[in-house]
Amino acid sequence: MQSPDLSQNYFELFGLKPVFAIDPVQLKMAQQRLQASYHPDRHVNESDRDRRLSVQVTSWINQAFDTLRDPVKRSRYLLEISGAEIPDDSTTTADVEFLMEQIELREAVDACREAADGLDQCHQIESRLAQRACELAHEFVDCFSAGDLPGSVIMSRKMQFIQRIQQQLDELQFELEGR
């Protein structure tokens, strides 16, 4: 089995430009094309070494796909390959306005749990979160294309925060639907 060039970055692997706004369809097609040639099912009758290699290569392809598909992970990866310093998750933001927004959103999510129209409220928060995610993505693109790496890092962190609230909301919706 011929291994792909493992020194490529994820964007190069899928034949994409290293930008935030990638075409999800192109990503998906490139992913399936790569899987079609490297997946272990295509190398069942080969040597142990090649079968092992196929598992490792497809694991790497899956990891790359997983990273680029998700906007938060994609933004972090872009920063990583651009040489930006990424603080770990424990660092807190000094942005008071954003802090207040965080607290307010969390409270809104908690309020849905007890509310009679909890699911409706969830849907409202959901569209608000979607809008915020979209705005932050634009701000990230603006900072990143202007070469403002520290500013991009902050936007990426904010996107991550909104995504976490979305996950909490998902979990709550699942709970409420079951009632």
Binding site: D41, V44, V55, S59, N62, Q63, D66, E177
Partner: protein, 623 residues
């Protein structure tokens, strides 16, 4: 073999040879084997034309029975008749379902192993060994039908099977002497069986309720690529639980006390028959009896629905969870496919139909569809279809984590991640000169380790001693295309690879599997010896009969008293030894009788020739 291989019309004879590949559905209740015949997947029947092989093994005094013959013995000999063994694969005995607080078998767990064994009259057997017996019967059926040794098999497993259950299934294949191409998830197999000829793109939900397991998979189909978006389920929920619900109802309604294993089996058999009949009938009469107990009653569809309502609701919760994980709304599902015998239950069909707001598809026989899909993939993996675009992309059903301080699980790879997948983690040492460490890997979604399923403890040894905190130990968790996990570790500053000792929590160690392989080969040898012994015993009685008949006919006429006595002496020695268990001894005595009576046989021949010539003219005889 190769010289006898005939290429099919339209197929180029060179360079590749058609490989014999089959798909096996190793089910809780029934198992099947299927293959591709002239491009079409078909289930292979046994000599009596039966496709379904009941997954039941009976351990008799000198033979093992698998299938219907074993099933027929279950009420009469419950402790030696093992059914639903799939529920014990990769599990501890606490996971077995009890009825009226009786375990179905005598379970023993050896001191030096974590794997429970079922005690039968011919010994103690693990779930892996019992499953291997079922696999062997199916493989033999396929070999006979296809006319040769199998090149490889695909065995299906519930999508929700955890690592230990998958390992156990792979071990069973090893023990049965099969070349396992792939463990394929059952719902994915069903989607393949449905999807290939239709070649339509879209999103499908596969609802698979079998005898002992429940799976839901959400798949995206596009140009021969079957991509699993999310999967969910319960690996110990199925038709068996419906039987148990009816069984408990019978015990309560009849007021039975002291239910023993035999009665429990009888109750379950009646319960299962009632469940099946209630698919069409509105009510069913029941009769349960043994020496001490007797009860007759009626169960209605309404009561049955009430008994299983919670169970079906549980499956719907799993469906909603999988939809959410896939990021798919019910309205976006183009098709709902029903798989598994238990989807014949009317309440299941109506509740699933209601959740997805569409009539579920059951065009293909829900019992066969998984095996058919497995056969299609086996054919592709064998290389018989080099131009096939088919590609199955599956996911990890349950998150993998490691135990951290305070007994919490830290997730390493989350559920529904596409496989194969690898993740690496870096550790350091906390003591000077530390050369070993241990990692406890668990699987499940819960925060606390004790609520997850323990998979294995990995002992990493042999890193170079360094000062505390200086070592960088990179541990890589790899999940392959079968959904099986392995762990490798390396100290990165020195490049030394750690030696890893795996202690599976519920699985067999490599040593145990080796011992079982050896035992099964010895068993096969014993089988051959037993057959040879039987043959010699038959031969011995044939020889004795022939001698007796000859002596009675003309012994006195052709032999002196002394000659008669000499032959009789050898004949008697053989008769006494004919119950002997030694093949060699029997062979020697048979030869002795033959040698001793050789002259007699010659004399009889001459005599009969003379008799034939008597009264004839010389010219009438051809010389």
């Amino acid at each position: 073999m190769a010289l006898l291989q005939i290429s099919e019309p339209g197929e180029s004879s060179a360079p590749h040879q058609h490989k014999l590949a089959v798909g096996i559905d190793l089910g809780t209740t029934n198992s099947l084997v299927a293959t591709l015949r002239s491009g079409e997947a078909v289930c292979l029947p046994d000599e009596q034309g039966r496709k379904l092989l009941p997954s039941v093994v009976h351990f008799g005094d000198d033979a093992r029975l698998v299938g219907s013959e074993a099933l027929a013995l279950q009420a009469e000999d419950p402790l030696n008749t093992v059914a639903s063994i799939k529920r014990l694969m990769g599990r501890a005995s606490e996971d077995l379902t009890r009825l009226g607080n009786v375990l179905p078998y005598d379970i023993v767990t050896p001191q030096d192993s974590n794997v429970p064994r079922i005690r039968t009259r011919s010994g103690d057997f693990s779930a892996v060994e019992i499953s291997a017996e079922i696999l062997k019967v199916l493989a033999r059926r396929a070999s006979l039908s296809l006319g040769g040794q199998l090149d490889g098999v695909v065995i299906t497993v519930p999508a929700y099977f955890d690592d230990a259950q998958r390992q156990a299934t792979r071990d069973a294949a090893t023990l049965a002497g099969l070349n396992l191409f792939r463990l394929l998830n059952e719902p994915t197999a069903a989607a393949v069986a449905y999807g290939l000829d239709q070649n339509n793109d879209g999103t499908v939900a596969v609802y698979d309720l079998g005898g002992g397991t429940f799976d839901i998979s959400i798949l995206h189909l596009n140009q021969g690529v079957f991509e699993v978006l999310a999967t969910g389920g319960d690996s110990s929920l199925g038709g068996d639980d419906m039987d148990h619900a009816i069984g408990e109802w019978i015990i309560a309604t009849a007021g039975f006390v002291d239910v023993d294993a035999g009665l429990a089996r009888r109750i379950l058999i009646s319960a299962r028959q009632a469940k099946e009949a209630l698919t069409l009938a509105e009510s069913v009469d029941l009769l349960v009896e043994d020496e001490q107990h007797k009860w007759a009653g009626t169960i209605s569809r309404e009561i049955f629905d009430e008994l299983i309502k919670d169970l079906v609701s549980q499956t719907l919760t799993a469906c909603r969870r999988a939809l959410r994980d896939a990021g798919i709304k019910t309205a976006e599902i183009d098709e709902v496919i029903m798989v598994g015998g238990s989807t014949r239950v009317p309440l299941v069909q109506s509740m699933v139909g209601e959740l997805f707001a569409r009539t579920p598809m059951c065009d293909l026989d829900p019992d066969q569809v998984v095996a058919l899909g497995a056969a299609i993939q086996a054919d592709v993996l064998a290389g018989n279809k080099p131009d096939s675009d088919m590609l199955l992309l599956d996911v990890l059903p349950l998150s993998l984590g490691i135990e951290t301080m305070g007994g919490l699980s830290e997730k390493i790879i989350s559920r529904n991640t596409a496989i194969p997948v690898a993740r690496a983690q870096e550790f350091t040492t906390f003591k000077d000169g530390q050369t070993a460490m241990s990692i406890h890997v668990v699987q499940g979604e819960r925060e606390v380790v004790s609520d997850c399923r323990s998979l294995a403890r990995f002992e990493l040894r042999g890193f170079p001693p360094m000062t505390a905190g200086a070592a960088r130990i990179r541990v890589t968790y790899q999940v392959d295309a079968d959904g099986l996990m392995s762990v490798t570790a390396e100290e990165t500053t020195s490049g030394v690879t750690a030696e890893i000792v795996v202690k599976p929590s519920y699985g067999l160690t490599d040593g145990e599997i080796e011992a079982m392989l050896r035992a099964s080969m010895e068993h096969a040898r014993e089988d051959i010896e037993l057959r040879m012994l039987k043959e010699q015993q038959v031969e011995a009685s044939r020889v004795i009969e022939a001698i007796d008949a000859a002596l009675a006919a003309d012994g006195a006429a052709l032999l002196s008293a002394e000659e008669q006595a000499r032959i009789a002496k050898h004949r008697d020695a053989l008769a006494i030894a004919s119950e002997s268990t030694s093949v060699d001894e029997l062979k020697r005595l048979i030869r002795a009788v033959e040698d001793a009576s050789e002259f007699y046989v010659a004399r009889r021949m001459n005599h009969s020739v003379r008799q034939a010539l008597t009264g004839k003219q010389i010219d009438e005889v051809d010389v």
